[in-house]
């Protein structure tokens, strides 16, 4: 086996004391690790790539880490060293939740007072750029708030282009009238936690069986033409085997379901214990499992590395549902494919995801869309607007994998007290010793 090879020099933190440290992405054999050394707490290696595909091909010169910035990441709030603009803004509207999950970004659920309606409206006015912003209402579980329809309305009045709700789906499944109010207020689409197609998975990860309520949530959202994207958190030995079934379920629920957004487990906030490399699900492993478990209905080349964020932070695939199959619309090796790693990438990404995740207005004349010749331009256009489907992923960073080159390319920001903070630095937490 070859000795360790340095692929990239970057910066990170000590997972224990959170001190800033120089770090390296090193390749050992086919695997790639983020390595850093803390004088006090020792050497830390965290696997970031298992070598199932070529990492250099995937990353392709996306590392644009400028000189070290001593404010990074603790003083994070989009400084002049930050490379990417904001694509989506997350606003936490509650600390409260109706679940107690095994893993959660938010470690302090159900503690402290929530912001008032007036405070939230003020935040919305401050964070929204009229006609452009995609705001994600998050928490905690946002649907525990009775005034959520008013908050959505406030976001629209402030000029939000899209309002996304991040939810576990429980209230959406139980309370159809509540869903109607959210839709009437202008909700654009829902990101719904959906970890698997059997209740054993929910019992392990979320503490109770939830599959039926998730299905009810999809139906209730569909009744008011609100698109739902399923968001599975992938955890080793709990639902890694279920990836193909999640995709098949989602496809069978199109156009009610608009896509699947995978999130490999991240070790921030509430976690059972410090992670081992075995437990980490790397991005290339996720691509491999998606392709393998769908019998190559989805191929590796159909999934493109993120250009809106750092390529190691995610990927996206754009498809059209045709019966029980997906037709890919993007190809990684297409020479005509435009490169959009410029400053407009965040804006392009926002429009890309929104046009797929939002359902097109209900049209009574399009009931026969299952048939027709897809080479016919008119048939294709009708079909893609109704049956467009995305397969996307976001790999969040934790204290082990935190890589400032990735962080400075982040376009997904949390808004708090006048600051836009990259998601992974906002939620960064240290490990127990």
């Amino acid at each position: 086996m070859e000795g360790p090879r340095i692929l990239c020099k970057t910066w990170s933190v000590c997972p224990v004391c959170m001190k800033r440290l120089p770090a390296e992405r090193i390749q050992i054999g086919t695997e790639v690790f983020l390595r850093k050394t803390c004088n006090e707490h020792g050497i830390f290696n965290s696997i970031i790539w298992r070598g199932l595909y070529d990492i250099n091909e995937w990353v392709k010169g996306s590392d644009r880490l400028s000189a070290d910035n001593p404010q990074c990441p603790n003083g994070c709030g989009l400084c002049s060293d930050h490379v990417q603009k904001t694509c989506c803004v997350l606003l936490n509207i509650t600390h409260h939740c109706n679940l107690q999950c095994r893993f959660c970004f938010e470690d302090n659920c159900n503690q402290g007072d929530d912001p008032t309606f007036e405070e939230i409206k003020e935040s919305l006015v401050n964070l929204i750029e009229r006609g452009k912003t995609l705001v994600q209402l998050s928490g905690g579980e946002p649907t525990v708030r009775e005034d959520l329809p008013g908050i959505i309305n406030g976001a629209k009045e402030a000029g939000a282009r899209y309002v996304q709700l991040n939810s576990n789906g429980i209230r959406l499944g139980e309370d159809k009238e509540y869903v109607r109010k959210l839709a009437d207020a202008g909700l654009s689409f829902v990101f719904m936690q959906f970890d698997g197609t059997n209740d054993e998975i929910y019992e392990t990860l979320r503490g109770k069986p939830l599959l039926e309520i998730k299905k009810a949530a999809i139906e209730n959202c569909s009744a008011y033409n609100v698109g739902v994207t399923l968001v599975p958190m992938i955890v080793r030995d709990i639902n890694t085997h279920n990836i193909g079934d999640i995709l098949r379920f989602a496809i069978s629920e199109a156009p009610k379901v608009r896509g699947v957004h995978f999130q490999p487990v991240t070790f921030i906030g509430r976690v059972p214990e410090n992670p081992t490399d075995y437990e980490r699900i790397t991005l290339d492993e996720l691509v491999f499992e998606i392709c393998n478990q769908t019998d190559d209905m989805i191929k590796p080349g159909d999934l493109l590395p993120s250009s809106c964020d750092h390529p190691l932070c995610g990927f996206h695939g754009d498809f059209m549902v045709d019966q029980d199959k997906l037709i890919p619309l993007l190809k990684r090796d297409n020479p005509e494919q435009q490169c959009c790693c410029d400053s407009s990438a965040a804006e392009k990404n926002r429009e890309f995801v929104a046009r797929r995740w939002q359902r097109s207005p209900a049209d009574p004349n399009d009931a026969d869309l299952c048939c027709g010749d897809l080479y016919d331009m008119e048939v294709f256009l009708k079909r893609i607007k109704k049956y467009g489907f995305t397969v996307t992923a976001m790999a969040f960073q934790d204290a082990g994998t935190m890589d400032f080159s990735r962080l400075r390319n982040c376009s997904f920001h949390v808004y708090e007290k006048g600051r836009f903070i990259p998601f992974c630095s906002y939620y960064l937490t240290g490990w127990t010793q």
Partner: protein, 63 residues
């Protein structure tokens, strides 16, 4: 078909509505467009360009 007759500038033949193929980013589609029966040249109207063709481009473009 537009109300006015369209004549091929080269062949002086009246254009007829026929299937025309369009390719974009590796995908091919057809739609009816006025075509010269002699030389096969296709007339692409502003409506088609700003309408369906632009719509297809937007749907297929990567972010």
């Amino acid at each position: 078909m537009p109300e006015k007759k369209l004549i091929c500038y080269k062949c002086r033949k009246e254009l007829e509505l026929k299937k025309a193929n369009f390719s974009y980013l590796g995908h091919t589609f057809y739609t009816d467009a006025p075509t010269c029966p002699e030389c096969g040249i296709v007339y692409i109207s502003e409506d088609l360009v700003k309408g369906r063709m632009s719509d297809v481009e937007m749907q297929l473009e990567d972010k």
